[in-house]
Structure formats: structure tokens, C-alpha cells
């Protein structure tokens, strides 16, 4: 646990040591802000639904971009050899890196709380419960995509390739329930359960079900497990 924290600290610090983190946060705030204010004034909606539907789209590209270098860069620079020969477990390294990327995503999300504050001042009949559970959904979604991003980063030493693989996998998750009409009925329920949208839409409506929580938790766990396995596989290289 302590080792995980040390890795986490180092990675987070290195995000903020480079312009990368600031660029990410500013662009994230601008993009979400643009869509939010647009719908807010155009349709005079007093809720956060616009934000909750745009953030998952923005995530598709932003999260793989944040996580792409986490392991790939260690491989290309060669520091993977230093870090893998320290007396710590590979899973501590993977978890620490995941948490660092995930934290940056959550910080980005916190920036959008400004919109919510605006809303509470100017809006009428704001459903605070729905906003809260909607945010909760986005936090969990960010976790899933971050775990996918870290996994992609472990597959290659090229950050750009890691980005492309990451975008591809999160797109599959994102689009799964749009493919339902092509799926045989017998499998439909299963495919629907795998898609993030299905779980997310429940939450943005204000419903938090343990089934949704179990889903997000196990997908994150699954990808972190795979990542650890990939990192360990160097030993047999």
C-alpha cells in the first residue's frame, strides 16, 4: 500500500511537472464548458444532462491521452528495468500509476463543478440528487477508461500506439449497447450488461444500483489485473 502511494505520488508529480496536466485541464474545462453553456442557453435547460452526455464523449479521447505514457514511456526510456528491479510488486506499480492517471481525470471533473454552481444560482428546480449520482457515474466511468488506458500503455513502448489501442477499447465499451440490434436475443442481455452506457444511464437518472457498482468495480479490476500480467510477462521475454 505504501509503495503504491509512493508510485502514485511520483506519477502525479510528474504530470504536473510537465505542461501536459495543465493543458489537459484547460482543454477539458473549455470543451465541456462550451457544450454545457451552449445547451444551457439554447434550450434553457436547468439540469446537467448536457454535461453528463458530453463528458463520456470527451473521455473517449482524453483519458487514453492522459494514460498513454504511464507504462509505455518506462519501456521506451528503459526505466522499466529500474522500477521492476526495486523490491516492490508489479501490481503496486500498476495500481499507483492507475491512481495517478485517474486522479488527474477526477481533478478535471471537479473543474466542471463550476457549471453546477452556476446552475444552482440561475436554475430552477435543480435535481441535486440526480446531479450527484450523475457525477458519481462519471467518476466510475473515468475509472474504467483509466484502467483501459493503463492496460493499453502496458502493451507497447510507443505512447501513440498506446493511445490508439486505448481509444479503440474504450470505443468498443462505449458503442456496445448501440450494437444491440445486431446481437441475437439470447446474448442481448449480456452485451447490454457489458456496455458502460447501460450502467451510466441508470446513474444519470439518479438510480444507483449495486449491480452498476459491481460492474464498474469488476471492469476496473479486470483491466488492472491484465495490466499486471502484461508487466510481469517481461520476465519471460
Amino acid at each position: 500500500m505504501r509503495n503504491t502511494f509512493v508510485i502514485f505520488q511520483k506519477e502525479l508529480k510528474s504530470f504536473f511537472n510537465s505542461p501536459m496536466a495543465y493543458i489537459f485541464l484547460v482543454i477539458f474545462a473549455l470543451v465541456t464548458g462550451y457544450f454545457f453553456t451552449n445547451t444551457f442557453f439554447l434550450y434553457n435547460q436547468s439540469d446537467m444532462r448536457a454535461l453528463f452526455s458530453i463528458v463520456p464523449l470527451v473521455y473517449l479521447f482524453f483519458i487514453p491521452a492522459v494514460t498513454m505514457g504511464l507504462i509505455a514511456k518506462e519501456k521506451s526510456v528503459g526505466t522499466i528495468e529500474t522500477i521492476s528491479t526495486l523490491p516492490i510488486q508489479d501490481r503496486d506499480v500498476v495500481l499507483g500509476k492507475f491512481l495517478a492517471g485517474y486522479s488527474l481525470i477526477i481533478i478535471g471533473l471537479l473543474v466542471t463543478v463550476i457549471h453546477y454552481i452556476t446552475l444552482t444560482f440561475v436554475g430552477t428546480n435543480v435535481d441535486h440528487g440526480a446531479v450527484l449520482s450523475g457525477y458519481f457515474g462519471l467518476v466510475l466511468l473515468g475509472g474504467v477508461y483509466s484502467s483501459v488506458g493503463v492496460f493499453s500503455s502496458s502493451l507497447t513502448e510507443n505512447s501513440v500506439v498506446a493511445f490508439i489501442i486505448g481509444v479503440f477499447i474504450v470505443l468498443v465499451f462505449f458503442l456496445l449497447d448501440k450494437t444491440l440490434i445486431f446481437v441475437p436475443d439470447a446474448l442481448a442481455g449480456f452485451v447490454q450488461y457489458l456496455s458502460v452506457d447501460f450502467h451510466l444511464s441508470n446513474m444519470s437518472r439518479g438510480v444507483i444500483d449495486t449491480r452498476n457498482l459491481v460492474y464498474f468495480g469488476s471492469v476496473i479490476g479486470f483491466f488492472l489485473f491484465l495490466t499486471t500480467r502484461v508487466v510481469e510477462s517481461r520476465k519471460w521475454g
Partner: protein, 315 residues
């Protein structure tokens, strides 16, 4: 004590290390030599737990790398080949990071920092970004990282390669100093880089052990040839060729004549010394020997002959 026991490591179908065995005792500085692609880095990567052996094992005292990887890693400081570093960190933060991972308290870190800053000469760069430091300083930073927890064992993969001659001398002195208390294994593909620093040399070729011992032992065990270079006046080439008939242990390696004198290189077994016979023969024929110099096999020749055969240049 480190014991590499019948170690083999393959990358797919490439057998990089084949049934390699050797032992290193505490307080020894060992040079691990081999041509490019001989399997040095692969061996060191297995010793540090970065790679798993395909077969065989590595022992550190009573621990082995298959069952006690983390315990062994605690005792080792490792400088990987090409000295990879986190270039965006400050030197201080980098050392602090490694110290924390190694479980050191702030107080222990403070003492350790003073030690490595002094030993590696880092006082000028401690608050600089690693990536902004010169190559020589980066190498010292790499060494400082490997030493921060004061390990019993230092494993250094080509620690002086790519440095300028002055830096090589400095790093060598540092390693020599460290070797007084620690077990040090340093690899190189250039003999001169390490010959002066190490107590013992292990030479591998194509993944196999070809020689092991001190410089003197290696030279003694090599059955090399000695060469004698002569500059002679007033001798014709035929007479020189005939010398072989009188002194059977000789062979003529090269023979060149100019108007004034002849230059001859003779070869004979390292163990014999025919200089007196040659001199007497020259006197008998009324030649004037202007110069005569003998060169015996040196460690360089031993290294070259051991690592040349079967070298497929598969680096």
C-alpha cells in the same frame, strides 16, 4: 556471496545464456567481459530479477532469485545498461523516491544523501533536473541511485561506456573505493575499461563461460605465442630463412628487407626463450642486430582470442 548456477536464458529461439556458472565472494570487484551480444546484460538482468531464468538459478547467500526475488532485490543496487533515468525529475526527488521505495526514513535518507552526494560528487547538481545534466553527471546519478540504500551488492552494466577518458578514471576510482566494502560486478566489452579496477575477470562468449580468474591467472593459462621483432643489418633473406633450421622452435611471421636492413618478426611458444640462440646465430653469420624486442601475450590477446572464435556478430 553470489552464485550463478547453471543459468540459461533464451529469448524465443535465441539462446542468450547457456549453462553459465560462476561464484563471486564478498568484497570482490569482478569484471564481466564479453563481446557485444555475448549475453552479459541478459545474465545481469536475471541476477536482478528483471528476467526469469529459462533454467538454472542465482543464489545470493542462502537466498535464490526464484523464491526470494524481493529479498535479493533489497540487497542489490543496480545500474542498468545505458543508465535509464527519470529525466523529468529533480536529482534530489529522484534519490528521495528511491530511498522511500527502499523503506528508508527521512532521517536515514538525509544521512544517505550526504553519503552519495559526497561519493558521487553530486553537490553541484542536486537541485537540477536530471535531463539537464551532462552525460558524466547522469552516470554518477545512476550510480547514486544504485547506492542510495547502501546495498551489499552492486551490479553495474557497462558503467563507464560512453564516458570521456577523465570521467572514466573518476568513475573507476569511485567503483574501486566502493569495492572495498561491497561485492561489485561490472560488465564491459572493452578490457582496458575494467582491467585496472577489478580483482577478478569473468569472460563469456556466445552465452558460455570461457575464462575466469585474475589477470595474471588468465595470462598464465593462455597458451599464447611470444613475438620477437628484430632489425638486422648485413643479412640476406636466405640466411634469415635458414635460421629456422638451426633453431627449430621458431617460425618466421614476417620478413621485410630494405636497402639498409631487414625487419623480421619471429614467433615461438610463450614458454620458451630462444633469444640467446638467435643472438649467437647472428654473431656467427656476422650480422649486426640493431634492435631486438620481445612481446609476450598480454591480457588483451587472451581476451581477443577467447571471444573471437564463434563470434557471429549477433549483437
Amino acid at each position: 556471496m553470489i552464485k550463478v548456477d547453471n543459468l540459461s536464458k533464451s529469448y524465443g529461439s535465441i539462446e542468450a545464456v547457456k549453462s553459465l556458472s560462476f561464484e563471486i565472494n564478498d568484497g570482490e570487484i569482478v569484471g564481466f567481459l564479453g563481446a557485444n551480444g555475448a549475453g552479459k546484460s541478459t545474465t545481469l538482468k536475471v541476477m536482478t530479477g528483471f528476467l526469469r531464468p529459462t533454467s538454472g538459478n542465482v543464489y545470493v547467500d542462502d537466498l535464490n532469485i526464484l523464491d526470494h526475488e524481493r529479498e535479493i532485490q533489497k540487497r542489490i543496487g543496480y545500474l542498468p545498461e545505458l543508465n535509464p533515468l527519470y529525466v523529468d525529475m529533480k536529482v534530489f526527488d529522484l534519490l528521495k523516491f528511491h530511498a522511500t521505495i527502499r523503506g528508508m526514513t527521512d532521517k536515514q535518507f538525509k544521512t544517505a544523501l550526504e553519503r552519495v552526494v559526497h561519493d558521487c560528487g553530486l553537490s553541484g547538481v542536486i537541485h537540477r533536473t536530471v535531463g539537464d545534466c551532462s552525460k558524466g553527471f547522469k552516470q554518477r546519478i545512476g550510480l547514486a541511485v544504485a547506492m542510495i540504500h547502501d546495498p551489499e551488492i552492486l551490479i553495474l552494466d557497462e558503467p563507464v561506456t560512453g564516458l570521456d577518458p577523465n570521467q572514466i578514471v573518476e568513475i573507476r576510482q569511485l567503483i574501486k573505493q566502493l569495492g572495498k566494502e561491497k561485492l561489485v560486478i561490472m560488465s564491459s566489452h572493452i578490457l582496458q575499461e575494467i582491467q585496472a579496477t577489478v580483482d577478478k575477470i569473468i569472460i563469456i562468449n556466445n552465452g558460455e563461460l570461457v575464462a575466469e580468474g585474475s589477470s595474471e591467472e588468465l595470462i598464465a593459462s593462455a597458451q599464447g605465442l611470444a613475438q620477437l621483432t628484430l632489425e638486422i643489418q648485413d643479412a640476406d633473406e636466405n640466411a634469415i630463412q635458414e635460421m629456422k633450421a638451426f633453431i627449430p622452435s621458431l617460425s618466421i611471421h614476417t620478413l621485410e628487407s630494405s636497402e639498409k636492413s631487414s625487419f623480421v618478426t619471429l614467433e615461438y611458444a610463450n614458454t620458451s626463450d630462444p633469444r640467446k640462440e638467435i643472438f649467437d646465430y647472428a654473431v656467427k653469420n656476422q650480422w649486426s642486430i640493431l634492435e631486438m624486442s620481445q612481446s609476450k601475450t598480454n591480457l588483451e590477446d587472451v581476451f581477443r582470442s577467447l571471444t573471437q572464435k564463434g563470434d557471429q556478430g549477433n549483437a
